[in-house]
Every structure is written in C-alpha cells, then in structure tokens.
C-alpha cells in the first residue's frame, strides 16, 4: 500500500513479548518472544493456526489478557507501554488509541440492543460532554462509512447478515477515531464474496484515515491480498516475516510454504486430485518438541533441527526466517 509513512513513529510496537499462562498443570508458554511493529497507514498481517498464540498476542495489545497470564517484554501503543501504564491511561487508550475487531461478530454484539446504541456507547464513555445529537450524527456517519444505511442504526444484530454485522463491528472500532485497529480473523466465517467486500472496506479505510491496521488470519492468501507486510507464527514464535507478496509467493520457511500451498491455485493442473498440506497437528505448548518446534511436521527436517531452537536470521534483507535449512544445500 502507498500511504505508509516510514519515518513516522509506529502506532504499535511489540518488543520481545512473551505470554505464559499459569495452569493447574504448570506454566503454558503461549507466546515466546515476538517482535512486531505497525506504522500509520500500514497494514500488517499476522498469520498462524489455532493455538499458535496469535489471539493471545492480540489480547496483550490492550491488556485484555486473563489474570492467569504473565506478560514480559514491551507492548507499546502510540509509544506507551500498555502493560505498565495506569488504569486511567489504559482506559483512555482503549477505543481512542487502539481498538480491536474481535473474531465472531455474531457473538461480540449484544443481541438485545440496537446496533446504533452499541456504536454510540464507546463515544459517550470517551467524550461524555458531546451533545446527544452530535453522537447520533457520528453513529450515522460511521454506519455510512462502513457501507451501511444510516437507518440501520435501529436494527438488532439478528436482523443483519454476517457481513453486515462485521461492518457494524468495524464501525464500532472506528467510533473513537483510533490510530491503530487490530482485526482478529475479520473474515473467517464469511462467504468469499462478503469476504472480498470486507477486505475492500478495510483497505479503503486505512487509505482514507491513515490508521495502522494489524490483521490476524490463518489464511495467508487473504493477508497477501491486503497487507504490506506479513509475520508468520508457529507454536508461539515468529518463523518468518517480510513483504506480504514475497512471503506468499516465495515463502522461505517450510511452514510458510505449507500455508501458502494449502489453498491451491485454481487452474493449476498439478493441484487436481492433489490437496497439499502437512501431516499431523501443531504441538501442545506444554510439551514442545526439543529444538525447532516445527521439526516433527517438517518435510525438510534433519537431526540437527532438534538440537536447538533456530534463531530468526535475516536470510535476505527484510526477510528474517527461523530455519537452519533455509539457504542450506
């Protein structure tokens, strides 16, 4: 995307973030040392499967992690460390500094409240002095901004389709004019056509408003379509990152290669009757394999892979990869 201001301060910066859940069966390391940044006007994708720690990471951005979780490292939103600031500062930052579009729009909206009311609520909390009519007008503008008729403010969530509900979620995220929006699987339950509509909407909003957008998805092809940069996580760690197109069309890490190949190129004769993917399941974070966590499922694994966790190394400029086999003969 063109509107990235590289000289601008990042709106989100994660520095060596780890998240460990305390469970009755001992500590569970969900995120293990992640670095990530999002600049104004930039769209960054975070790819990975269930259990890789991506949703846990989203929670730390607004200090929404459960109390059983211990977070180390720095989570900087607009330069402030969210994990250590006072509750007062945190309240100001939520919605107005950064907002999150949660997974599952159906379950995130209140079923017994009209959607206009739900969009108005964060505005009223953050700007209690605004006149009622001003809030009302803002709600109508927001609905129109996300492609819904202003009159839909009187609708209840069940009267809307999945795509329309997702638009409402995005309108809510925009309500307090944040500089950072985090969208967790924004299109997962949607049909292809509606998915395309929502992705177009997000792209336009980033272009128009100059906000930073972090999108989480398990579908690398969706991220490649809309993002400037993509980071791929596996078992709590970053295994690869780089420009979105390059990561998708020329993936270097064997796990990224599997994600990229999971959805076939339609029309490619090689993919007919030949679905691609990986054998096995991601590891249990409590029982991580020794060395590289991906080694047990990796088609390229050698004995050495289980010796030590591979560091994230820049293989070519701007393309860090955590795999000892990349570049090796």
């Amino acid at each position: 995307m063109s509107g990235v201001r590289t000289e601008a301060e990042p709106v989100l910066e994660l520095r060596d973030v780890t998240v460990t859940y305390g469970t009755s069966e001992g500590p569970l390391p969900a995120v293990r040392g992640v670095d990530l940044s999002v600049r104004p006007g930039e769209v960054v994708g975070l790819a990975g499967e269930s259990g890789c720690g991506k949703s846990t990471l989203v929670g730390t951005v607004l200090r929404l992690q459960p109390s059983s979780a211990t977070v180390t490292g720095e989570v900087l939103v607009l330069g402030e460390d969210v994990q250590t600031i006072s509750w007062g500062r945190l309240r100001a930052l939520r919605w107005a500094g950064a907002s999150i579009v949660f997974q599952g729009a159906l379950h995130s909206l209140n079923p017994v409240q009209r959607i206009g009311r739900q969009i108005a609520e964060p505005i009223e909390v953050h700007e209690p002095d605004l006149a009622k009519e001003v809030v009302e007008r803002r709600v109508e503008e927001l609905l129109e901004q996300v492609g819904l008729a202003a009159s839909r403010k009187r609708a209840y969530p069940h009267q809307l389709s999945g795509g329309q509900r997702q638009r409402v979620m995005i309108a809510m995220a925009l309500a307090c004019r944040p500089q950072l929006i985090v969208a967790d699987e924004p299109t997962t339950a949607l049909d292809v056509m509606v998915q395309a509509q929502i992705l177009d909407l997000l792209k336009d909003l980033v272009g128009d408003l100059g906000v930073g957008l972090l999108i989480i998805s398990h579908d690398l092809s969706v991220l490649a379509d809309i993002c400037d940069r993509v980071t791929v996580m596996y078992a709590g760690r970053v295994v690869e990152s780089g420009p979105a197109d390059a990561v998708f069309t020329d993936p270097l890490h064997p796990y990224t290669q599997a994600l990229s190949g999971a959805f076939p190129r339609i029309g490619d004769p090689a993919a007919r009757y030949a679905p691609a993917g990986l054998k096995g399941d991601p590891p249990d974070p409590r029982e991580l394999p020794p060395g590289c966590s991906f080694a047990p499922r990796c088609p390229l694994a050698v004995d050495e892979c289980s010796a030590a966790e591979p560091p994230l190394v820049e293989v070519t400029p701007g393309r860090p990869v955590a795999c000892i086999r990349v570049g090796a003969p």
Binding site: S50, G162, Q195, A196, H218, A258, R272, A274, P275
Partner: protein, 345 residues
Amino acid sequence: MTGFETGASAPSSTTGTPFLEARDLGVEFTTRSGASARALDGVHVSVQRGEILAIVGESGSGKTTLARTLIGLQAPSSGQVLLEGAPLSYSTRALRTLRSRVQMVLQDAAGSLNPRQTVYESVAEGIRLHRRVESDPDGRSEAELVAAALAEAGLRPPERLFLRYPHELSGGQKQRVLIAGALALRPELILADEPVSSLDASIRGEILALLLKLRSELGMGVVVVTHDLGLAWNIADRIAVMYLGRVVECGTTEEVLSHPRHPYTQALLSVVPEIDFLEPVVLTGEIPDPSRIPDGCRFHPRCPQLADGRAAAAGVDDHCRRTSLPVLPADGDHRVACHLDAATA
C-alpha cells in the same frame, strides 16, 4: 509442502443410472410472517457411484437444504430424490436403509460430537443402530469394526483414542472421528457439508486427501457442499454452482473453474485471492431473501454484465429482467443458466 497418497484420480463411471439423483427438486418453507420462501426452486443434480460432486454456493444459496433433502432429512415440496433410479419413500424403514448407504458428515465437527461421549461410543452408535455386527461378512466384533473405521479415517493406532473425549482431540482429529462414524456403516456415498471450513489450513489437505483415498480404495462417492472453490479444484470431478435455490452453472471441474461462463461463477472465482486470470469483480449486496426471488434471471439485480451494458448490447437485457430461465438438466454437459451466454454462445 507434503503430497498425500490419494490413489487413482478418475471417477469410475459417468454414465448409466446415477447412484443418487435429485429431479426438479423444490423445497418451500413458510416464514413466520406467512410468506413462502423457496429454498430450492427446481434443482437437478446427480452423482454416479464413486464420483465426487461439489455443490458450490454462498450462504443462502440453498446448498445445505439440497444436501439435507438428498439424505431425506428434509422432504421435498416438489420433485423427487432417486436412489439408483427408485424414488425415495419417506417411511422410517426406507430412510434407515438410505442412511446406511448414504452417510452425512456435518459441518462443525466440534459441535456435532456429543461432548460426554467417548470416541468409541460416538463411532459405535451407528454400528449398533444399523446392526452392523450382525451383518458383518467377516464376523468382526463391535470393537473391531470401530477400530477399523478409525484406522480408515487415518486415526492410528485406533485403540489409543477409544476412551478419549472430544475436548481432548484436535480439530482435525474430531473431523476424522466424524468421518469414521460415517465409514463404519460402509456407505456407498458420503455427503460432506463444509468438511474443512472450520479446520486450520495445514490440516485441510489431510482431510481432503482422505476423501480421495476413500474413493479410490472403497469406491465411495462423495457429495461435498462448500463455498470453497479451491477445495472443489482439489478433489471434485464435477461442480454445480448454486444461486438462490437454483443451479446456475454445472459441468466438469475443469469446465466450470477454468472456463466459467455464468457471470456469478466468474465473480465468485475472481475474488478468490489466488486467482490472477480474472479481474476481481466484487458484487455488491448479498444473496436476496428466498421469499423474494427476483423476476427474470434471479441473478439480474447483482449481475455485473447487465449493469455494465453488455447484456443490453447483446439485446437480452429485457430477457434478463423479465424472462425466467429453464432449470438446467443434470446430463453431465457444461450448462449455464444465463440469457447473455445463450445469446452469445
């Protein structure tokens, strides 16, 4: 990326009496306001033994209603379902026979398994219901049949999973347990509703490879209901694209996906992120409510080729708005329900 062992790749036969067939199927629901909604409005589809058919469409296209009607969970308001050429009767006994020959694997593996039932119990339930121990040609016990089905579904060693509960399984394992439950009955056809949509990308390949393997090793046919065109490209022999209760395009997978002729199929394909041979056409709005099916071609209010004047240039725009289209036959040819296509073909 890993390739999977899937065995042979071609369907066994494409002619003769279809194994399962829908003939001019209609399903009508009455909504609370009294209006009638035609979820299926005249559908012909057929599937041969050992064939993999993908029924493709968005939410609201009627694809799940079609699957439910094919397996007798929903009685049609008009038309017929035929099993090996014989019309389905809806007596309890006939339905039980149908379901031992045609098994459905439901969407959402996590929600379809009883959380308080072990894997063994989940798979054994169907075996008991259909008295498979009594009818087993090899005289196997119930435990042996359960183990065989789990192993066929790729859960090895099966005994290790017998006493597990669904919450102890991964998403891919749950999907396999559901497939094992269906396999245990030795069906001739499996009807799978979005079999991989709730699974992670890396798991999806394994489940699709399993469906292909069941076809090559057991001769099992598969009807897969999905909105995922990549899945269809991966495993299906033929495709029927549905829009608002009708099939709008059907043919072999290569015909429909490499040379799509219906503007709706073209639009659906164009928004798949990996597609680069079509300019993305993002349709506005969503599939209309089936209680208000538009006149003429049911796709015309959203049709990009009507909107940009191509239909008018061919002189068919009036037809698009007023003349309804015939129901497409399921004769195996590449068929398209579109006035513009008919005028320019």
